[in-house]
């Protein structure tokens, strides 16, 4: 079948669905939806619509990004704007089905927002809400809107038209179009994509490879997973375009094994591409051949580095090698190879579909387009977002994210994962683009954005990242292998109250040496979390070292739990919950924690009724409590 024929079929299938008199329920069943309990919701919907005798189409879609509200559904009734409902339970489903599907009440009290033409009284428009209004969805254009296991849904929404357009152009024109869009690699380093393609196209050789880097290893980042689960064809179409432009005939998707659903979705998508003649030999009769294989990673952070990734595809230990030669000259099995990450590929298909000028109209002069972020940590609205480059951190954290959880104070935002840094409140108004983040000592990275509040200890966070990079170092370069170990030991000492004068200077010195003495970006950026926390939160390091005090009250060896004798009402809940029997007391007696027995698990703090709030934490100062339980209201 020609592409025109496929497109007609896709359009008619899509329109038939849109015009169906039956109500349609879209449910987010990406990994995050599932983790929040989407499966139970799916069963509840099936049960409830059967109970009311309603014939409805249930479509499983990817993540729309409002993860804080998962599980989430969108209910479409013919002729009405669709309604989103979040934080669902089977009980809420029962009410929605009864009142809105079987009845005429859209239940504004349960609804998040509407989409589409028209309004419903009492329900705001979803995309006008602060969480979505600043967002521009390019890489995530179809996530949450289409069935990711149905290629026709993708095609009906403009899918593969970018590739068709590319086929009508000369390969060099395609590269020029990508150059003109200003697209820079979304994997972290921000290298201009068009230029990277040019190097590979210009490299001599007939056999060339294309690789999609889906080894999203940054802890705290899940944008690529969401794209692959919610819209796999956008990535694969990008690869097709890249392969045509560069002259590659073989492609690999290197994906981490921790993403089983994404792997499943990609396999389904590849099969459908073959069935539609969009993959294989002589694609759509154009004479262009391209094949894609999926390679599952086996759990190694360093394999996100391109030379390590290629070593892993070849069946070796994933260890980076020196560059040059760059992969564009000598990559997989010594052949010219072009590697881009998932989000970059998803952008490529959009650029060819809608044009370089359209894409370049978003973002800043040097950082064009949009960037996806996973906004997580101590923020009210966690989720997956896509924003134009140049937006400020404040707009993201306070506008889209809704501020800090529990009304606490902001301390830092961590960008770029273990290669990035922690940015303090003074930088909240700086724009998010490649240059500004680098100037602040962090990096754009792949898009993890972890918000930290006043209760997060920055020294402990630095230790956390060093622990990660130290265990993920492949061991090839001495500075990375041993230097990170030394830095980690020093940080362990500091958080355990054994910090010494001169530790900060030593950390800075070793950090500098690791940056200079490592082959790949893992070592080259590993000290960043430590260096930026020293740069912006030096006082916290000094408090740990000089006063043996943890200002955030989190480093266990430096804190003590105690019971405020003026607040304790002697209810005994803490004493019963204490796993180490460290709390003495009795009925109507002020309870006392035996500091020698206390394991500092924090259980007493959790269980003490909020109306008393008698359990308190302190660090760096002596605790004044009675040595033995005394009657409530008596003198301490």
């Amino acid at each position: 079948m020609s592409f025109e024929g496929i497109k007609r079929k896709a359009k008619s299938q899509w329109e038939e669905m849109q015009n169906s008199p039956n109500p349609r329920i879209l449910i987010g069943t990406a990994t995050c939806g599932m983790a929040a309990g989407a499966e139970d919701i799916l069963h509840a919907i099936e049960k409830e619509i059967a109970k009311h005798g309603i014939k409805a189409d249930i479509i499983q879609v990817g993540c729309i990004g409002l993860c804080y509200a998962e599980p989430l559904i969108e209910v479409v009734k013919h002729g009405k704007p669709s309604v989103f409902y979040g934080n669902l339970t089977p009980e809420i489903i029962s009410e929605i089905v009864k009142d809105w599907l079987a009845g005429d009440n859209p239940r504004p009290d349960l609804a998040l927002g509407t989409r589409g033409e028209g309004t419903l009284e009492g329900i705001p428009k979803l995309f006008e809400l602060p969480v979505l209004k600043p967002q521009v969805r390019i890489a995530l254009r179809n996530c949450g809107n289409i069935d990711p296991t149905n290629i026709y849904h993708y095609i009906a929404n403009g899918g593969y038209e970018g590739f068709i357009k590319a086929l009508k152009m000369k390969p060099q024109e395609v590269i020029d179009e990508v150059k003109k869009s200003g697209l820079r690699g979304r994997g972290g380093a921000g290298f201009p994509t068009g230029l990277k393609w040019q190097f590979c196209r210009d490299a001599p050789g007939t056999l060339k490879y294309i690789v999609c880097n889906a080894d999203e290893g940054d802890p705290g980042a899940f944008m690529d997973r969401a794209v692959m689960e919610g819209d796999p064809h956008s990535v694969l179409e990008g690869m097709l375009i890249g392969a045509y432009a560069i002259g590659a005939s073989e492609g690999y998707v290197y994906i981490r094994a921790e993403y089983p659903l994404a792997i499943k979705r990609l396999r389904v998508a590849l099969k459908q591409m073959e069935e539609c003649g969009l993959l294989g030999d002589n694609i759509l009769g154009s004479g262009f051949d391209f094949h894609i294989k999926i390679k599952e990673g086996a759990g190694a952070f360093v394999c996100g580095e391109e030379t390590a990734l290629m070593a892993s595809i070849e069946g070796n230990r994933g260890m980076p090698r020196a560059r040059p030669p760059f992969p564009a000259q000598s990559g997989l099995w010594g052949k010219p190879t072009n590697i881009n990450n998932v989000e970059t590929w998803a952008n490529v298909s959009a650029i060819l579909q809608k044009g370089a000028g359209w894409y370049a109209s978003y973002g800043t002069e040097k950082s064009r387009g949009t960037k996806t972020f996973s906004l997580v940590g101590k923020v009210v609205r966690t989720g997956l977002i896509e924003v134009p480059m140049g937006i400020s951190l404040r707009e993201i954290i306070y506008g889209i994210g809704g501020g800090i959880l529990g009304g606490k104070g902001y301390k830092a935002v961590q960008t770029g994962g273990p290669s990035g840094g922690c940015l303090p409140a003074s930088l909240l108004d700086s724009p998010v683009d490649f240059e500004s983040l680098a100037a602040a000592g962090s990096i754009m990275g792949s898009g993890g954005m972890v918000v930290m509040d006043e209760n997060t200890c920055m020294v402990d966070v630095a230790r956390y990242f060093l622990n990660f990079t130290q265990s993920e170092s492949c061991g090839k370069c001495v500075m990375c292998r041993l230097g990170t170990k030394q830095m980690l030991d020093i940080l362990e000492d500091i958080v355990n109250g054994r910090g010494r004068k001169g530790d900060i200077e030593l950390l800075l010195e070793i950090g500098d040496a690791i940056k200079n003495g490592s082959l790949c970006a893992l070592g080259g950026t590993a000290p960043n979390p430590v260096l930026t926390t020293i740069r912006y939160f030096r006082d916290e390091y000094e408090a740990h070292i000089n006063e043996k005090r943890c200002p955030a009250l989190t480093c266990r060896p430096l804190i003590s739990y105690y019971i405020n004798s003026e607040k304790c009402q002697g209810c005994g809940i803490c004493a019963r919950a204490c796993p180490s029997e460290a709390i003495k007391g009795g009925k109507r007696m002020v309870h006392v924690i035996d500091q020698g027995k206390c394991i500092k698990c924090g259980t007493c703090l959790d269980v003490c009724p909020a109306k008393f709030s008698a359990v308190e934490v302190s660090s760096g100062k002596p605790i004044v409590t009675p040595a033995e339980p005394v009657p409530v209201g008596g003198k301490a």
């Binding site: 990994t31 290893g217 921790e258 390679k295 906004l375 940590g377």
Partner: protein, 177 residues
């Protein structure tokens, strides 16, 4: 946690007699060509079917793809997914990603370590549970996250984690190994 009675028959994770291992290896290798680039996919299948990488299996793979056994062993020890000792029938993975870390993952791990009486990476003596930490599952918006076998549980608290494990021990075995 009380020891849970093992399922009837031979516990799946014990060392198999050579013959069984050989025939099971033949089954796995039948779908491969014997190229070096297949080492990782083969090891993944072995890990999945056996729950770990038996020494004889790695030697068999080395012969199959024509590399020294040390190469296969080198790959097997490089990647976090591969285990050299048998894992329990239920594998509990606690995410130690940044999103989970700042939202209390260490406390979930502590709770389960206390409940099961094993440390991170350990397996209960009855081979029922293995406790692991994993870099990141990519469900950070629902942090902290734990995965029991293949089911992802989000928004965990120490108490909820305890309940998930409690429920698990009452369910029939569902692992495909």
């Amino acid at each position: 946690m009380k020891a849970v009675q093992a399922a009837e028959g031979v516990p799946r994770a014990t060392q198999e007699p050579d013959k069984t291992l050989d025939s099971r290896m033949n089954e796995i290798l039948a779908s491969f060509k014997g190229e070096k680039s297949e080492i990782i996919p083969i090891l993944q299948q072995v890990q999945q079917k056996f729950g770990y990488l038996p020494e004889q299996a790695m030697q068999r793979i080395a012969e199959f793809v024509h590399v020294p056994a040390s190469t296969v062993f080198g790959v097997g020890t490089f990647y976090a997914q591969f285990k050299l000792v048998p894992t329990g029938r239920n594998v509990i993975k606690i995410c130690r990603g940044t999103g989970c870390y700042v939202r209390g993952a260490p406390r979930i791990l502590n709770e389960l370590e206390n409940q099961l009486g094993i440390k991170d990476g350990g397996t209960t003596p009855d081979m029922e549970y293995t406790l692991e930490t994993v870099a990141c599952f990519g469900s950070c918006a629902l942090a902290p996250v734990m995965v029991v076998n293949d089911k992802v549980h989000g928004r965990m608290t120490p108490d909820k984690a305890k309940k998930v494990i409690g429920k698990k021990s009452e369910e029939p075995q569902s692992s495909d190994r």
